[in-house]
């Protein structure tokens, strides 16, 4: 089976006023259908940039990248993925329900379907009862959860998430990690997930991509041996700790090389 996402010697250089910035250098990565891939690395190593390339929001300056066998731009127009941005980015003139409804309106879901999906996804991120509230009436973490609900509300095979849980407290984060895993198991979506947290990356992923900066590149790809069924206390197991070590070593090596 051909990979859902395939990057071959992908390069991206931003031309800035201070000269070129090499955000991605020779990135090679294949993601199979149904994989959960985490991207971890220091700030500025190109995680967001890679996700944006996959989404067709940024044009690579070299190499090839396919999504579902199409160019990223074609995949974007085919509504192949949902994207959770690093900031919530809710539209202030729409209620929380209205924001979640937005992609459904654009994609032409029926009225009954819209209502059902808004209710379901709000419950999923624990925001029942906030449908009629405006974004400014919610805390930053609640807004972030609403933006996750918005990306989950429609059927996309691929979910691109850029530090979706960065603004959340430890408890809610654990709960949403569990929710995300069960959602993934249920829907067999392909997940690309950016995080700064090693335990989160190890807990969620079937594959962990360690990146290093200047120029942004992949320094290690770790295939997780953990089973698909993952209770929260798996984080105390020996395997879990060993993988976490390897991720940390990869991060450190990347920093020293830079």
């Amino acid at each position: 089976m051909s990979p859902v996402i395939s990057a071959k010697s992908l390069n991206l250089t931003f031309q800035t006023n201070d000269g070129p910035v090499h955000a991605l250098k020779d990135v090679n990565l294949d993601v199979e259908k149904g994989e959960f891939v985490s991207f971890i690395g220091p700030s500025g190593c190109g995680k967001t940039t890679f996700l944006r390339c996959v989404a067709g929001l940024e044009a690579p300056t070299g190499g090839t990248l396919t999504v579902n066998g199409m160019t990223p731009d074609e995949a974007r127009r085919a509504r192949a993925y949902g994207y959770v941005f690093q900031a919530a980015g809710l539209y202030p003139w729409r209620t929380i329900g209205g924001n979640i409804r937005l992609p459904l309106e654009i994609m032409g879901y029926s009225e009954a379907e819209k209502r059902k999906r808004v209710t379901d996804t709000l419950a999923l991120v624990d925001l029942d009862g906030f449908e009629k509230k405006y974004p400014w009436q919610l805390s930053g973490g609640m807004q972030q959860r609403a933006s996750i609900a918005r990306a989950l509300s429609f059927d996309a095979e691929i979910l691109l998430m850029d530090e979706p849980f960065g603004a959340l407290d430890e408890i809610v984060r654990d709960r949403l990690n569990e929710e995300l895993l069960s959602l993934w198991a249920r829907t067999e979506k392909t997940m690309l997930f950016v995080t700064h947290s090693i335990p989160e990356a190890v807990y969620l992923s079937t594959k962990i991509v360690v990146m290093s900066p200047r120029p942004g590149r992949i320094s290690d790809v770790i295939d997780s041996p953990l089973p698909k069924e993952r209770p929260l206390d798996i984080r105390d197991s020996r395997e879990f700790i060993e993988i976490a070590h390897r991720v940390r070593d990869g991060l450190r090596a990347g920093m020293e090389a830079a």
Partner: protein, 333 residues
Amino acid sequence: MTDTAPLAAQGAGIGRSGRVALWARGFSHALLPVVTVVAALLAIWYLACIPMNASNSVLQAARADVAVSPESASDRRGMSGLALAVRNPGVAVAGAFDQDRARLPAPHQVAAELWAGTVGEPVTSNRSLIWHGWVTLSATLLGFVFGTVLGIALAVGIVHSRVMDMSVMPWAIVSQTVPIIAIAPMIIVVLYSVGIQGIVPKAIISAYLSFFPVVVGMVKGLRSPNGMDLDLMATYGATKGQTFWKLRLPSSMPYLFASLKIGIAASLIGAIVGELPTGASAGLGARLLAGSYYGQTEQIWAALFAAAILAALCVGLLGVIERALLGRMGMTT
């Protein structure tokens, strides 16, 4: 009272009387500066009446055989009103505020004229300011609608088409640098020659003035969504039309209302200017023209104030609509 107000305000939320007190204080805080400014303006106005009307006051006094200085009329001819007032203070003050065709009528004279023109006349009379105001207002509103529609349409084109962006904006700017007083007669004459007269030519002049702020504001408003807002639409594979209706248009509303307030005032000016060159018999512009024709300064000033009041009402009404709409959209400004 004022220096204890901040302290009192702390507890003002407690209980009902506190709230009333807070409301009253907020009201007086808002009112006090306004009253002060109005009082100062009135004082300056009354003062200005003395030198402005001095030559006439002195002339009347001389005719009534009151001693004035200088005595000879030919000596007085070349003198400024200020100099006359300084040399004949008693006469100048006594005669300043109740002249029939004063060079500068006093505020109470203008107020009386306004009163007579609104309350004192049936609205169907051609001396009623309400009737003249309505004639001007109807052209203003029609032109405002024309201008707003045209302005929004141009802004949509400019935002979506590079060609329009490059070509329309310079012409829109040029159009506003031409003095309206120069174009208005041409518009009216040209339209008259093709059989269009009455309200439409005036409305077109109004539209000519009011489309511009709407274009400028709407272009800025339609471009106000940031990169991420637009990226989100892109990830949904939204069409340009969907992006317009669901993102650009709602984002532009605060900008639109700011422009509309300028636009309605410009429209009113356009309608009044449109009434000047035709020798129109109706409308505030016609009142202004007739007033200056016959030296009826009170009539001129009354018409000016009627126009100002009309503009204030229009802008105020737009403000109310703005607050209601943006409030409903969760965008309280």
